[in-house]
Structures are given as C-alpha cells and as structure tokens.
Symmetry: D2
Subunit: 386 residues, 4 copies
C-alpha cells in the first residue's frame, strides 16, 4: 500500500530532516528513535511501512535538497554520514519537488497544485497522498466573509483578491485533490468553516495544529503534575530563544502572537485557571536550529508555602518535529484508509493547539492515541494486532 | 465517623506541619491546597472529614509541639499567623503525644505501643486509628531469619536481640492493635514477609513506601514524556541538596543509599532501561527545610541528535509531604472501612517506591487512584458520588 | 559630623529598607552585611558613621512608613523583629518626611523643595544633606532646548510647561539648596547640561546612574571573564521577571527601554563588541520584591568550539539596593566635605550606567573606588587610614 | 627563536587539541580565540610566535595522533575541516612523539626521558624546550623521605622503589635536561622540596598547578563579586558531570579528592571563610569531552535577607585547556629567556591551585599577569612594547 507524503515547504529544515530520516529508515541506516508510531503500543498493520512512503512536495525556494541536507549536517541536526550515504535517494526526491505555483488567481494556483498532487499520485500508483504543511508560520490571517461558505469561497478564489492565506489555499487544493491534510504549523490551514465543510463533503480526514516539540511538550506533562497534586500555580513565565528559519519568521510580532497564544492555552485548559506570567519568543540567529527555552514556575503548596520549579530545554526543533511528521502521515493515511473523515481529534498528542475540544494533558492524549490506533489496527482484515 | 491518625515521629517537621495543617483546615483558617483528596475527582463520602480526624503520636524527642511549630513558622514552612491562632488546638494534640517506648525487649515495647494505640482509640471513641510512619529514615535493615515467619518473629521479639528495625516494630504493633498502617518513609516498616502475613491475618490494609514529594515527583512525569515520544534518554543525573532533619539523617551513607536506590528505580521502570548517571543527596544545613534538586537529562532524538533538559526544583519537603499524610490517612481509613486488606497498590500515586508491581508514571497512577477512590465512594450506602 | 540623607521616594521599598537598615545599624540590631563601605578596604574616618546619619525625604504617596515596613516584613524583605523593635525610631523618621510639592510652576515646586531641604539641615544642625533619588523609574524624558543652558532653564521653569522631568527638578532643587545629589535610578536626574553646569558653579559633587543590584552586577564580572580569556561571546540573552513597585513601572515600555539600554551597554563596553541577544524585563506581580533573572550566554572557544553558560539570579532588589544607598550617601558626603565637585566617576562600582567614560568591569571599578576612598581617608587630619 | 613544546600525555585530548590548534594557527587556518597571549594587553616580542613552536611529547598509549584528532572531530571538539587540512603537519608531529620510558629503575627512566628531550632540542636546533604535563590526573602521592632533599632523591631513584609519582619523575627529568616545566594537572609534578631545590640550582622557571578551565574559572570571578559587595555566602555547592578521559580518571575517589580540594580552596581564599557545601565530580561517560557543572550559591544580603544564584556551565574542557597550554608554553619560554627562575607566581591566572601565596581573584591575577608580561616585553632589546 504505497502512500505519498507531500510536504508543503519541502526544502525547509523540518521537511529536509523528515526526508533524510525517512530515506535512512527505509535503507536501514538509522533506528526509529523519536518515531512514536514505532513504539510497541502503536505499531501495527494499519500503518504504511517506511518503505512504502513516497516523498514529494512544493516550496517557494529552489535551493537543492542536497544542499539543504548538507547545511543541516554542518549544523549538527542530521549526521553527515547519512547525507553522504543517501545521495542517490535524495536526488530521487529532488525530482519529485515542484515550485510553489505563483501568479494568476488563487483558483488558478489551487488548480496547479491539484494537478501536481494528482500527477504525483498517478506517477507512483499511490493508494493516497497525505499533504503535510511544514512551511513557515504565517501571520494571523485577515478574515473574509467567503471563509464561511464553500460556494462563496470557490467564487471568491476566481477574483483578484488573496482571499485565502497560503496555508489555507494548500488545504483547499489538498481537499480538491482528495488528499488528507495535516497542519504541523500554527497557520490557518484548514481552520476555516468553508474548508472544513469541503473536507467533510469529500470524506477526508485532517489533523492539526502546530506540532508540539519543545517547551509546550514539557508544559503538557508538568502542568498536569501540579493539577494532580492540587498545587496552586501562581506564575508560569517562559522565554524561548531560537535561531533558524522559524526564529526569523517568529521575530515578526504577528506570527509570534499566534504561537504564544497557543502556548498559553495549554496551561489554562489543564489547570483550570490562567497563572500570571507569559511566554516570549526571541530570535537569536546564532542559536541556529537549536532552541533554548527557560521556564520559571512559582507555586504554592499546603498552607500557602511558596516554591519554584525552573527548567531549561535545549532541543533541536527539526529533529523533534521530523519523526512526528512521518508519524502523522502514517496515522492520517491509516485513518483515510479506514474511511474516517473530519478532524482527527485523537491525534491531539502531537499538537500544541489540537483540533476539537480535547485535553491538553500529554498522558491523557497518549491514552486516546493508543486506543484510536489500536482500533485502526483491529480494522485490518487478518491482522493480529500486537 | 471519627478517625484517629497516629503519627510515628510526631514532633518531626512533616508531622508538625501535618498537625498544624489539619487543625487549620478543621478551623477553616486555610484552604486545601496540596490535599489531593480534596480535588473534584477524589473527594466524596467515603473519606473522613478533616473535622473527624483526631491526632496523636509517638516521638523519641520531647520538644513541645508548639515550639516545633514556631520553629517551622520562623523557617517559612508554615504561616506564623496559623501557629498563633491554633495555640489551644496544638495544646490539645500535645496531650495526645506519647514518648516512644524504650527499654525492655522488643515484645515489651510493642505491647506498650499497642496499649497507647488502644487507649487512644477508646479515649476518643474512634472508628479506627491509622498509624502513619513519618519518622527519620533508617539505614538499610539487617536481615534476620525470623523476618520470614509470624510465629518465629513473635518468639524472637521476646529475646534480647533487636530483631526488627524500629519502623517495623511500629508496624508490628499497629497490626497487633488492629490499625491500618502507612509508611511515608523509605524505612523497612511493614515490608517483611512475617509482617505482611500478620496484616493479612488481621484483615488490615497498608500503604507505602516513601512519599513522593520532590525530584522523584518531577521524574514521574518527565520520564513518561520521553518514553511516549520515543526519545532515548542517555543520561539522567540528579543532585539533591537539603538541610533540615531529613538532610542530616541522609548524610549517613547507608540511609542515603536506600533513598537513592528508590529514586533510580522510577527511571528504569518507566523507560524500560536505566540511563547513565546517578542521584546524589548532600546535606547543606543552611538550606533548612527547603530542598533544591537539580537534574540534567541528556537524550537523543531522531537520527541520534543530542539534546538536553535541565530542571531545578526548589521545594519545601514538609509542606509537600504534610497534605499527602492527611490524604493517605483518609484513604487508608476508607479502605479499612470498606473491608480491604493487604497492600493498597492503588495508592502508588503517593510513593517513590510503591508496593506491588505497579507503574511509576504519575498519570497512570492518578487514573488508578481515581478509579479506586470512586469505588470507595460508590460503596457508601445512599452516597451520590460526585 | 552629622549628615542628612534626603530620600526622594522616601516611602518606596528601597527607601524604606534603607531607613529600617540605617536605624537597625545605629541601634546595633544588625550587622553591616551588604554595606560596601564597611569592608576593611573602604572603611575609615572620612565617612560619616551610621549613628551620624539623619534621615528624611519626600514622597507623593502618604502610606505611613511603619505600614510600609510591615509590608516589607510580610514579604520577607526585612526581618519582622527589626520592624517591631524600631517603632519609635521609625516614627521619628516619619516626622521628617514631607509630601512631594505639587501645583504651581516648576520653579515654585523647586522652591518648596529647597525650603524643605534647608529647614531639614537647619533643624538638625547638619553639616550637609545628600539628596538620593530612589523614586520610581521615569519614562525617557522629552528633550527641551532649555536643558542646555542654566539661564534658559531658570527662565523656562517659571512658565507653565513641565520643562524638567521630576527627577531633574529634584536634582535642580538639590543644587539650589547646596546639596550633593545621587541618582540611584535610570531617570534623567542631573544628566542635563544645564544642571551639570549649575552643580559645577555651586561646587557640588554628584553620582549616578541606576544602582547595579542584580543581573547587571553578575554581567559586570562574567563579561570580563570572557574578555580576559579571549573567549568570543556569540549571544547573551537575559530575561528579568519582577513584581513589586519597580516591576509595575517597568511594564511601561518606555521605562523598560531606558533600563534595558543601560543593561546592554555594559556588555559592549567590556567585550568591545555587542553580542547577539537582548534583555527583557517582564512584570510578574506574584514575584513581589524578589526578582528572578535568567541569562543564557553562548560563546566560542579555541577553534570555534561552541559552549554555554546559564545563570539564574534570585535576588531581593530592595535588600540589595538599600545598603548601597547608605554607602553612596556616606561616600558622597565625604567627597563634598573634601571639596570635590562634579561627577564622581570613581563611584562607578555602584552603577549600571555610571557617569563619565569609565570601565564597566566590576573588579576595575572596585580598585578605583578603593583608591578614591583611601584618598578621602588620608585627607582627614590626624587620621590613621586603616 | 625556535621553541620546543614537549607534551607529557601527548596523545590525550588536551594535547591533541593543543597540537591541532598550534598547527592551525601556524597555517593561518584559524584565529587565536581562547589564546590569552594574543590579547592586546599581553602580546608582544618576548613571546615565541606560533610559527616558532615545535611540538613533541611522550605518551604511554600508541594510538596515532591522526586517529585521536579524528575522534575529537567526531565529538565536536575540533572542526573536522582542520583535521582534514592538517594531515601532513600532524604526521610530522607524530614523528616527534616518543613512547613513555618503561622498565628499569626510575633513574634509568629519567635518563631515557632526558635523552629524548635533549635529542629533540638538538634535532630542531631549539633555543629551549618547555615541558608541559597534560597527562591524566594521578591519585594523591605517597610521601617519601627522599622527597625533601636532592641528594637523597638522586640516590633513591637508583633503587627498586617507585619513589616519585610519574608526574614528578617527568619534572625531575625536565630539570635534568635544563627544561622549564609547566604542570597543567593537579598531580604532584614539581611540588616536592627536592625538585624545587633542583630547579633552583639549574636556574629554571616553572609554573602550575591544574589549569583553570571551567567551574573554578567562574568561581574566581563570582566569589570576588560577593566579597566586593559584602554579601555573606552561606553555601556554595557544586556538581561536575564529565565524561571523557579525565572523567574516568576522576571517578577514582583518590584523584577526585585532590581536584575537589583545589576547587574549594579558591572560595576560602577569596571570601575569607569557607561557606557550607562541597564540590562533587561524577563521571557520566555519555557527556564525552563536554562537561556540565551546576553550582548553587545561597547568600545573605542586608539585614540577613536570603537570596540565591545558580549557574550551569557547559564547556568543552579540551577546547578550553588547549589554548592555555600554548599560552603557558610561550610565557614560560619567555621567562626562561629572560633568566627568571623558580615558581612563576605571576601565572596564577591560569591555575586552579597556583604556586605561592597568591590571590585567587581572576581580575587581580589578570593585572599581575599583564604587569609581568609587559616586563618581559620591555626586556627585549629594541622592542616597542605594544
């Protein structure tokens, strides 16, 4: 069951790391560390094998994939030995990358994207293609009346206006091409009523938003700890220092605001109240693809005694995100194969700002993910799940 | 349903904080922050109310409780206003404290303890008395053949040897007096086959070991995070700096070893492998009742990329332990009332080194605790649980 | 040689702590921890004794000093026992506090201030009065042509405009009253050409700006360490979380900007280049008078190898500032007694943003301070310095 | 003026990094970051140029230098591009490395070492050879009566006993060969009365002990900060986690004790009292050549208010040590050329445990080093120092 993975932002750090990793896994050159779907609780027959994944994608930049991979090796994100060993495989993926459509109306660009997706599916005889958005974070989108209604949207796209933000135009094209869609960024993507309605019409599942790879991941286990122990969190202040492409994007205050808001939501939801303090994102170019987050949590215990917890997270965002991109592609493909449609709330485990009304506690998200995945495996005829 | 709580080590920091807190809660002078059994998921009719708890205990030292409370107020562990306001109530508890029996054979000391417990129960017309060990950590106990068999043990206790460590002699006396027993320390306590058999014979429930109040609490949520994300923990090194009574005790290498071993077990159980690194406990008198723990975790993500997490925990052990002591007394009393016997594995949530074969993931322990407590509440006739 | 210390912002946290401390030192209730002028290298006959300091001041608020002291005791900034023991002495200082002049032209308000200062000096038969600004940080001042020239300034002050920021109006009044002036804040104060010229005319010494009490203090020893070892600092990012009065003021972006700029100047001056990264100040009310600063420094060593240093400073700004206020009052009084005039660049040790072209290395500032103070002591007839 | 640098432990991480660095500097492939003697305050005509240094050394292991350099490149200690570019130069140094003499009496081994040193000097027509000990830390040495007297020592060395620890035997041989000697480790080296007397007789300068590269470096600027501010350090606790060769050696408690003692001495000397707390060294293999040190300092300010400073140092010991090895070789060579003899106390800046009665404040050590070096430059005929 060959499955396509189409990466929007295919030459970015996350996508390049995902591609190198998928090729290395397929070639047996690396192990599945970081791949959640390879844990005993999750693996099974419903998920396409790494060897069955075929990679392609769009990007606005044209730097060769091999150059990007070398840059990541120099920065310590991926091992140089893998980049050296995978030259031919990377060249093959290079042949599947397409320039992001430009010019014309949004409808014309969407049509070009649909054509690329359809040709990719046919060229490789794929059972399905999962579109995953890993492009740079957009500023908060401008609202448009046409966002509310499929018909109005279709009409508006043929006009001169940029009705949809880019992430949403890709989501629209994915739906039109019959592709499940995953949004790994905090951008708007499929989060517009018109697009949700269209996905539903087409019977497509989708997942998002904003991969949970660093500070928020830690928050999603520490905040439940305070809640379960009935400790009163008085303040929770976070500072995120990051270089790399995403850092530069987030230096833009509008994009920053979107990401910060999704980070604080986690606390309010888990604790039942919003403690004092906020989250900062600062761009420090020299930190490159590695990110340092520092959080200070002050809390009160029995009789009001004041205490503190501090943590420093020093992680490589691309290395943390890439295996989750593969996990999400596999799970969303399996959901599609099982005939599921609409928002995949069961995949909240992967996201800072998950779709639907769902818990933000990582442990609870994990249990939900396990149950869902078990169901997928049990639906495979003749399968002996675990 | 008045319930006795008998504290072994009743003049120590944890016990004194528990007593001040219980009295303050009963008087409405403080809220239940830190009390797990007051969370919506756990509270209910099976648990004795704070107003129904009657406090007493043994100690080898004789410092008046009021003096100990004042010292804790000066150290910032309990608010001075509470100690001032609770003078009469503290004096009443002072009247229920007894000197730890000394002299004679261990059988004679056990009998004196049983007499104290029985008199306490009768004097206050208590439904039951829960014995909670919060005394200083003992060195690892010397093995004895009589530890294996109730009859042999009874015989040996009448001899001149110190067959049982003190914590176990209290456990023995508790059983003989028909009292459920909780061990909040890493000492041996009830963890001897002969004592477990006796508790079973007498139909008594018991819980332990070693209250989870600081670094290990954080470990029990962070380690599952790494496991759920399939990240490979390469090293986990911890340093605990603590002053106060417990710190001085743990400066003794033998006691230290016991505590350190229970701290590392958590990692091996959750991760499925033991990372490099160890845990240190160092006594720094000036830190007083506050403890600082620093942990460095190095881990590998996708393709082996190295990353790090550091945390510093600055907590007040007594303030963290005291509400759990009250929680455990309430839950163990309810278990006894429900006719449960043997090790209460469902209370693993509270312990560094829980009884039985059980998970060390805090989230999983929490779900088990909730289910168990719900069962207790549902067993109360006419109760409308939550 | 009785010496007046007139505090602008006399009911604030820094001033109140300074007052409680000065009274406690005078009464022998505390030791001189934190007082630099009591170190063996600095103490001597030129400095007025603590017992010779007479305290007074202005404030716009009217909360009784005793109430402010109690609040600081409750917050753990000063010991409650001192506040209890110093009731009479605090009441005496209360009698020396005056409301900040309001209404009328700035010339009229300056005249009222001069009258208060003169009356204070005469009432207590003081050799001199040192005015110290410890009021809240102002936003960056609006430039005015009259700032450049004494005569133009005098004329402008009689008009309706607020020509001078408040801190500068106090500096002006201090000069007019013949008082040496110290600016412990980053506000404009005496830093206007017209005011410097006036101080010079009157033969007055002055010192400033912005007491160095936390993160910048640590920077002023760590940055020289990197410089002396020829290590290349690539980024230096700081986050300051603070509650309390100063925190609320600094939440105002304009005031924040002033403080942040003076913090970064230290690095550029010491290192000879400005590393990447910036400094943040965030208000977190719950932290109260305690401030937490976290800094991440990334640096390159031999052959470009990347390394990191992180520090967390958890300090009480008022407790750090108060003894320096007393030090500065003593040193400035001694400078005035010695006939020195103009900017006291030798006191750079105390300031984030010192007057004049001076080093920012704490060690070098220390040696300059020692040499200067030794000179003051040697100028005292019959003195045997150290 | 060609100068030899003879490294004892020439295939270790520090030595290999020193060699790669010296070759890279000579070839213009890298800049002098980390080299103190290239700072404007220190550089000048008295110091041999990097191009004039000729490298050689002894080691007990035989791993080829190129292999060691590749391993360090893989571990991120030195850039792979340098190792690739310097193949021929590394091979040339390989030809100058000699196996550590074994077998026979200590006198015979010393004679073999002297022969190696003399041949090296003659082969390259060197003005002098500086011997630098960078071999693994030894356990504390066993005292011997012969350590006190040159004649007794010479006699004892001809016997069967291992009278001198290895580091001291090298020091002895260096002296016999007329070579200045630097001890970069905490081992005994030249610190025996008999050896000091011999060095004096031969008119040789020497420097040591124990290069200051990490936690102690930070201590040597932070401790003076507390002292200059009259803040009372209550506790200072340090944890050092290190892998690599030195880590394994220090896992040996005897070696650990030597290093820990020299680390604590710094505090007592600077502060004038020894705070509570201690320093730990733990071996964590996975950390490799990078070391993480965490220190917690608690201190009291004005009126006893308690505060805290924490720092985490994440440094590469070899990259920090290597440029200092070159600095010390250059400075000691210049001292020898200037006819200086005996302990070079002016080089205390470089050491954890400097020779002689000297300050431990890095700033003060720096000023002394600058003054000394200026004197060396001024002694060069026709030189225009700086």
């Amino acid at each position: 069951m060959r499955t396509g993975v189409w990466l929007v932002g295919a030459r970015g750090s996350v996508a390049t790391t995902s591609i190198v990793g998928a090729l290395a896994l397929r070639s047996g050159l690396t192990g599945p560390t970081g791949c959640v779907t390879e844990l005993p609780d999750l693996r099974g027959p419903a998920l396409p094998a790494f060897g069955d994944l075929v990679l392609g994608g769009h990007d606005v930049v044209t730097t060769p994939l091999a150059k990007r991979a070398e840059a990541l090796a120099a920065a310590g994100v991926v091992p140089a030995r893998l980049v050296d060993a995978l030259g031919a495989e990377l060249a093959a993926v290079e042949g599947e990358l397409r320039p992001a459509p430009t010019g014309g109306t949004q409808a014309e660009r969407a049509a070009a994207t649909v054509a690329d997706l359809t040709a990719f599916r046919q060229r490789h005889d794929l059972a399905r293609v999962v579109v995953v958005n890993v492009s740079a974070t957009e500023p908060t989108a401008v609202p448009y009346p046409a966002h509310a209604d499929p018909a109005a949207l279709r009409a508006a796209l043929t006009g001169a206006d940029e009705v949809l933000p880019t992430s949403s135009l890709y989501a629209y094209a994915a739906i039109e091409a019959g592709c499940p869609y995953v949004d790994f960024t905090p951008s708007t993507g499929l989060r517009l009523p018109a697009l949700a309605a269209l996905a539903d019409e087409r019977g497509l599942p989708y997942a998002g938003h904003d991969g949970k790879t660093g500070e928020t991941l830690v928050k999603s286990v520490l905040a439940p700890m305070f809640a379960m122990r009935h400790l009163a969190v008085r303040s929770w202040s976070g500072t995120n220092l990051l270089g790399g492409g995403d850092g530069a994007t987030l230096a833009d205050p509008a994009a920053n605001a979107a990401k910060v808001a999704s980070k604080q939501r986690v606390l309010a939801e888990i604790l039942g109240y919003l403690p004092q303090g906020g989250t900062r994102i600062d761009y420090v170019e020299e930190l490159g693809d590695f990110k340092t987050a520092w959080d200070l949590i002050t809390f009160a215990g029995f009789l009001g005694t004041g205490m503190r917890l501090e943590f420093t997270w020093h992680g490589c965002d691309s290395a943390l995100a890439a295996p989750l991109v593969l996990d999400l592609a596999r799970l969303t493909a399996a959901a599609h194969a099982a005939g599921h449609r609409g928002p995949l709330e069961e995949l909240a485990f992967f996201f800072k700002d998950p779709l639907g009304e769902t818990t933000h506690s990582l442990g609870d998200q994990w249990h939900r993910l396990c149950a869902y995945t078990r169901g997928l495996h049990e639906g495979i005829p003749g399968a002996d799940p675990r």
